[in-house]
């Protein structure tokens, strides 16, 4: 059984016991434990079930590479599924549960899949569940979906907060092992600003477990002193619990810091996402040990040798009492030696190499450990935990030489450098036969904006496994990197070390070499996704020869560990099956993130109210207090209408329209785009921007203008006012201000840069209030305006006025068909003026109205609305706006486009008014049908509704629409099918429903 070993465990504090829960059981651990080590200390080896066969699974690793140890953490809305037990720090009150089983972890019905495994080879689902057709949707898929997936998430709202940090440094160092720490020292001594991040809570990495000698002292002391020295330097920042998750284009780096996951009820944000720009990046991300592929290598109790050593050394936990070590390299001997030194039994080291290990073998032998060279594990015995192994020769098919009883197996297939960050941004890899691993190809590094290397690799991430090489290369690489920054140092000399010489690894991709199909069908490559050697072989047999095909066909490496343990082993099996060498089969692409990061951290602070900025006019709070129903228009919020007590939204709109038509309405039109165009070439410029002529507009006058895209489509409209000889104020739609401003800038800067024109978006500088209705002039006069009689201010003119000492500009323009003034006032006086107008409410019957009433009134007048009558495919000619297309001008934006074949096609649908014959409102978006069907069986359409309203003024439904040959067909009726199988019949009429002679706006 797995248990705690007294006197061991450098990271745990046995005087600080903690209680936690696993599957409802109350268990005890120590401060410093991970959830994984604490579970092991409680002999909780079984921790989960695999994805496909629901086989019992125990921990395999001790870090981010762990494929099996996934648990649910926390409770209620703070629950997190699929948390890695190996990277979860234990705290008092931690609540955890296992996943993917029913009814319980110990007894899982899904295990039946294990007995059916021969029916469920790689890709079996592509070959079956085909008939009968509905069965997939209604039977098979629901079953598969239910049994797949891992944790069961909470469906509530996350109570936690998340944040983003930005960092700009000279050197980012990812990884706080000895190479990262030493690299940080070299860089920092040169004066560079250094940020060092480490994914675990502790610095020191693997070396602090193996404890090699350094400068004639212990490595632990060296690490402590170095850390202290770095922490004392003000150009160095060290962040633990922070994992480097991705390197993107031009070296943009992302790190993920877990701030509160290691304690209950810590205040502050849960996770912090770091966005880092470093002039140079150094990754010291270490290496990950590979499993060996032998039969039943997934039985709980089979673990990576380094993990066994880590649990023992750092946490004082043994996986078993009798541990067989199996390896193809020297490093695993350290595990055997550590176990033996802790008083545990190591019945055997199985070394697949005929010549065995070097110095470490001698040490092991001296401790009395039996070593068998050239041997292998044929099969592991046991179901829920290891009971023993069968020994066989590495060559051959696995004939059993000896049965050895044990309760744990420590395996080592060699080490794979963590090259993820190097690869994310395009760094290439080389296969190193000596190392049996991919290592960075330093000739083809990831490059930055200048095309030069932006990332370097040191330590075992670079494939250096001996401490002597690690530190020497770290020193050289770091000096080169700081030289790129124009820095140097000789204040961080290379420490003296003497690593233990090791014999070279020999590639062992399956154990034994000639394993029978029976053995291979029990030999796991990907523990979480249940991919076996036979699955990869089957993929190769069926022609899935590229590694991408094989991965996708078998799902190898697609689990939540992203193949950290399985990719190389799988690739090796694939290349063996194809009789090719590994480099020619290739490697798969590493994709960010290195380890999973919370969606919450990606979203950051921007949630709920802060999700997106809201643009508010100065009168916003007034609207809110007076029942505004809000409508988002771009980032603006505008009142759709003001709902009074006991009133429906519809009733409110009708009330507002009626008030405008009969008395006075006021509208907050501040969101209207306002672009000031100045300079001696302004007229010439606007003649290019607008389809109509603007240069001949008289001072004090306004003109309605259209703007098309270069592709000819109508994109915006609005009123232009000539302010003085060289300035025009261009009004745009509320949603269009930024676009039109940007369009003007673009043409000025990139095409007509010889024009002397300056454009400024002054939308937010001025509030605008529309006063509408036959009493409008009286309201303005009451406010003190004196120049607004129809002689001094005719329709489409403007004057400057003073209202209570405030400068205002009054435009006499109308979008409603009523007598109408728009009063423009500096924004800081917007609310003041609004209140002043509303103070006359009783006297004149003033009613504030919203966007919907505005829309109804403009539709009653047949005015087009950008976004309703236009949709990006409509040209001015379609809307009967030919009058606004200047014939005098040689050129304007969109003019050439209008000359194309299809733009002058007489079949284009044209604007008309539509009235249902029964007075009802024609449904929104309805299409008019013609005769029959087109050649692909669709009903022929001859037009569509673009705006449709109930007109409270005319007491009937009115609509605008685009209809083929519409203006020539006034008086005819056409059919609009609805979605309820009925048809609305509508008469084609003039688009101007109300006051066609324009009498009312001219009073």
């Amino acid at each position: 059984m797995s248990s705690r070993i007294p006197g061991h465990g450098g990271l745990v504090n046995s005087s600080k016991p903690l209680t936690f829960q696993f599957n409802g059981k109350e268990l005890e651990g120590f401060q410093g434990d991970t959830l994984a080590s604490a579970l092991l200390a409680n002999n909780q080896l079984l921790i989960g079930r695999s994805f496909k066969y629901h086989r019992p699974r125990g921990l395999v690793a001790s870090g981010a590479e762990e494929p099996n140890g996934l648990v649910g953490l926390g409770e209620a809305n703070s629950f997190e599924p699929n948390a890695r037990a190996t990277t979860t720090e234990l705290f008092d009150g931690l609540v955890s549960c296992s996943q993917n089983h029913w009814p319980s972890l110990e007894f899982d019905i899904g295990y039946v899949n294990n007995y059916l495994s021969s029916l469920l080879p790689a890709g079996f689902y592509y070959k079956t569940f085909i008939h009968p057709r509905p069965a997939w949707k209604y039977i098979f898929e629901p079953i598969i979906r239910k049994s797949a997936g891992l944790g069961k998430p909470t469906k509530g709202k996350d109570p936690d907060k998340y944040e983003h940090f930005y960092a700009y440094v000279d050197v980012l160092i990812v990884g706080g092992g000895i190479s990262g720490l030493y690299s940080a020292k070299v860089a920092a001594k040169s004066g560079a600003r250094v940020l060092l991040i480490e994914q675990t809570p502790h610095l020191g990495g693997q070396a602090s477990i193996d404890n090699p000698l350094i400068d004639q002292g212990s490595i632990a002391k060296w690490i402590t002193e170095l850390t202290k020295e770095l922490e004392g330097m003000n150009n160095v920042t060290i962040k633990a619990r922070t994992v480097g998750v991705g390197v993107y284009d031009h070296g943009y780096s992302l790190a993920y810091e877990r701030l509160t996951d290691h304690e209950l009820n810590l205040n502050g944000s849960r996770h912090r996402l770091w966005k880092i720009r470093a002039k140079q990046i150094i990754t010291a991300t270490g290496a990950i040990e590979r499993p060996l592929s032998f039969a039943n290598n997934d039985v709980p109790g089979v673990m990576l040798a380094s993990a066994v050593r880590n649990y023992l050394t750092n946490y004082g936990v043994s996986i078993g009492d009798r541990t067989v070590v199996v390896t193809n390299n020297d490093d695993a001997y350290r595990t055997a030696i550590s176990l033996k030194n802790a008083g545990l039994s190591v019945p055997l080291i199985i070394d697949s190499r005929p010549s065995g290990a070097g110095e470490l073998a001698k040490t092991a032998r001296d401790l009395g450990i039996r070593i068998e060279n050239g041997k292998a594990i044929s099969i592991v015995h046991g179901k829920d935990r290891v009971k023993g192994i069968s020994l066989c020769d590495q060559v051959g098919s696995g004939t059993v030489l000896e049965e050895i009883s044990c309760d744990a197996v420590a395996m080592s297939g060699g080490w794979s450098p963590v090259v993820h960050l190097w690869s994310h941004c395009g760094g290439k890899l080389n296969w190193d036969n000596e190392l049996c691993a991919f290592r960075p190809d330093t000739q083809l590094p990831p490059t930055g904006v200048n095309g030069l290397a932006c990332l370097s690799v040191v330590g075992s991430a670079n494939g250096d496994l001996l401490i002597d090489d690690i530190l020497r290369v770290t020193y050289e690489v770091t000096l080169r990197v700081i030289k790129e920054l124009g820095l140097e140092t000789n204040e961080a000399p290379l420490p003296s070390t003497k690593g233990i010489k090791e014999n070279s690894i020999s590639a062992v991709w399956k154990m034994p070499y000639g394993a029978s199909t029976k053995l291979k069908s029990k030999t796991w490559l990907d523990f979480q996704n249940d991919v076996k050697v036979t699955d990869v072989e089957l993929a190769a047999q069926e022609g899935f020869e590229s590694v991408e095909h094989a991965k996708r066909y078998t799902t190898l490496g697609m689990a939540t560990d992203q193949g950290k343990l399985s990719n190389i082993n799988g690739l090796a099996i694939l290349s063996e099956s194809l009789h090719k060498d590994i480099p020619s089969v290739g490697t798969t692409t590493f994709r960010p993130p290195y380890s999973p990061i919370s969606m919450g951290s990606i979203a950051g602070e921007a949630r709920s109210e802060l999700f997106q900025p809201i643009r508010k006019t100065p009168m916003h709070d007034w609207h809110d207090k007076h029942g505004a129903k809000w409508e988002p228009v771009g980032h603006w919020l505008r009142p759709y209408c003001y709902v009074q007590k006991g009133e429906s939204v519809k009733q409110a709109v009708f009330r507002e329209v009626t008030a405008c038509r009969n008395k006075v309405g006021v509208l907050d039109a501040s969101t209207l785009g306002k672009i000031m165009v100045r300079g001696k070439d302004s007229g010439k410029f606007l003649d290019m921007i607008y389809t109509n002529m603007m240069s001949n507009l008289k001072l004090g006058k306004c003109r309605y203008g259209l703007i098309c895209s270069e592709n000819g489509f109508l994109i915006d409209d609005g009123v232009v006012a000539r302010i003085d000889e060289n300035s025009y104020l261009c009004h745009t739609t509320s949603g269009g201000a930024e676009n039109i401003h940007s369009m003007m800038e673009e043409w000025l800067q990139t095409e007509w840069w010889d024009f002397e024109v300056y454009v400024t978006n002054v939308t937010e500088q001025f509030s605008q209030i529309t006063v509408v209705g036959e009493n409008a002039r009286r309201v303005l006069e009451k406010l003190g305006c004196s120049k607004i009689c129809s002689d001094s201010l005719p329709f489409m003119g403007w004057v400057d006025e003073k209202v209570f000492g405030v400068d205002v500009r009054v435009y006499r323009i109308s979008f409603s068909g009523e007598l109408s003034f728009e009063i423009s006032v500096p924004s800081n006086k917007g609310l003041f003026l609004w209140n002043e107008i509303l103070s006359l409410e009783k006297e004149f019957g003033i009613t504030p109205y919203g966007t919907e009433a505005l829309h109804v009134m403009r539709a009653e007048k047949g005015f087009i609305m950008i976004g309703d009558e236009t949709d990006g495919t409509v040209i001015p000619q379609d809307l009967g706006l030919d009058w606004a297309l200047s014939k005098k001008k040689n050129d304007y934006i969109g003019k050439r486009a209008h000359q194309r074949l299809y733009m002058s096609n007489p079949e284009r649908w044209k604007l008309v008014g539509l009235e249902s014959t029964d007075g009802s409102v024609i449904p929104e978006g309805a299409y008019a049908i013609g005769l029959g069907e087109n050649e692909v069986g669709q009903k022929v359409t001859i037009g569509r509704v673009t705006s449709t309203y109930y007109s409270p003024t005319l007491k009937k439904g009115i609509a605008l629409g685009l209809v083929a040959y519409g203006p020539d067909r006034l008086g005819e009726t056409i059919q609009f099918p609805t979605l309820t199988n009925s048809v609305v019949e509508a008469k084609i009429v003039s688009p101007i429903f109300y006051d066609p002679d324009g009498f009312k706006q001219n009073v």
Partner: protein
């Protein structure tokens, strides 16, 4: 996330400060151009696997448009320059040739 150098601010800034504006050095075609010329002006775009001249605006900065030469494969940027030119300045071409001796400027027609 590209790093772009705004030649007006003379600052290297994150891509999110900018907006991309497509191929640079297009010659505007208008009234008088053939259908073919006008179609090319609006739609035919260079789409090289290699050096691409393109327009960017420092939209969340100074607001200026400028041009850059950028590899669409390595993302290396060979320089940025004023949008108020009809062809890339010599220095940019020299920078590109240092890396890609075979490369030649072809105006877009």
């Amino acid at each position: 996330m590209l790093l772009l150098n705004c030649p007006y601010c003379n600052l290297s800034c994150e891509e999110t400060e900018f907006q991309a504006g497509g191929q640079a050095h297009l010659k505007r075609q208008s009234v008088g151009s053939s259908d073919q010329e006008f179609e090319s002006y609006l739609f035919a775009r260079k789409n090289p696997k290699g050096v691409h001249f393109e327009r960017w605006q420092h939209v969340n900065g100074c607001g200026k448009w400028f041009h850059i030469a950028r590899s669409t494969v390595t993302l290396e940027i060979f320089g940025s320059y004023s949008a108020q030119t009809l062809s890339p300045p010599k220095q940019i071409r020299v920078n590109i040739n240092k890396k890609l001796p075979e490369w030649r400027w072809e105006s877009s027609k």
